[in-house]
């Protein structure tokens, strides 16, 4: 187990890219870049504003969904360490408008990059306890589901 209380990973997604990590890192803080790729397929475009400094905020409005309606995401930068680490809060309808935390590590792999994204939810109260709770609960859920 590599899970720690400090940063209990809840959702972890990895991806290798044949692009230098400086380029990959920059794409996360550039509003024009974000507008191109930070939207699901069923949205036609996104409007993005970023204030890329620790404590600064961002806002991404995914627009023109084929079934109508916009989808707003916003958050605040917690850590910006180019080209290796980026962390920010993430608030949207899908998070019940409560803050979640995203941390992205950019690892150099030859001339490419391995990106490791963790996304964890912070519960409304007793954040530390809940972090611990989530690692346990994911395990419990896995066990319960495995049992059918």
């Amino acid at each position: 187990m590599t899970v720690t209380d400090e940063a209990a990973p809840v959702l972890m997604v990895r991806r290798q890219m044949a692009v230098p990590r400086e380029r990959v890192f920059e794409a996360w803080l550039d509003s024009e870049s974000l507008a191109h790729w930070m939207r699901p397929d069923n949205f036609t475009h996104a409007t993005v504003t970023v204030d890329p400094r620790v404590g600064g905020g961002f806002r991404i409005v995914m627009e023109g969904r084929t079934d109508g309606g916009d989808y707003e995401h916003r958050g605040e930068y917690l850590a910006i360490e180019p080209p290796s680490l980026l962390s920010f809060t993430w608030i949207s309808k899908a998070t019940d408008h409560k803050p979640t935390v995203i941390t992205i590590e950019f690892h150099e792999r030859g001339t490419g990059t391995e990106l490791v994204l963790t996304h964890r939810r912070l519960a409304p109260k007793a954040v530390e306890a809940h972090r611990k709770g989530w690692t346990d609960i994911v395990r419990l859920l896995d066990e319960a589901l495995a049992r059918g």
């Binding site: 991806r15 001339t111 990106l115 419990l140 859920l141």
Partner: protein, 118 residues
């Protein structure tokens, strides 16, 4: 309801109770024996878990049997599934965008090299 689930799992004793129930049904007395606190104390934790819908109780005569109901946990984890798909899609889009940009820049960037040999 979600907040109740979060509150329920915030306490280490309650997580331990869920852990025991994840292995199968138990009656309240046997459950209490496994904790260094009073039956009354364990009962209070059980009630919190019941209110969150995480425990179901069946009464047979004097025996109160408890079993885990994982459904609220599943609901609490729905956002995980939502975002797993979301990030998979977005990271694929990010890569496509960067590769296109790289080619568009006309640079003779070497293809991603094999990670050293073997």
């Amino acid at each position: 309801m979600l907040d109740q689930v979060y509150d329920a799992i915030a306490d280490p004793t309650r997580r331990a109770i869920l852990g025991i129930l994840a292995e199968g049904e138990v009656n309240v007395g046997n459950l209490a024996e496994r904790f260094p606190i009073s039956l009354n104390g364990v009962s209070k934790h059980v009630k919190v878990l019941e209110r969150a819908g995480l425990i179901e109780r069946t009464v047979q005569g004097r025996e109160h049997r408890l079993r885990l109901n994982a459904e609220p946990l599943r609901e609490a984890s729905m956002w995980l599934e939502h975002y797993r798909t979301f990030w998979d899609t977005q990271l694929a889009a990010l890569e496509a965008f960067l590769l296109k940009k790289q080619r568009g820049a006309g640079s003779e960037q070497a293809e991603h090299p094999r990670e050293d040999g073997r």
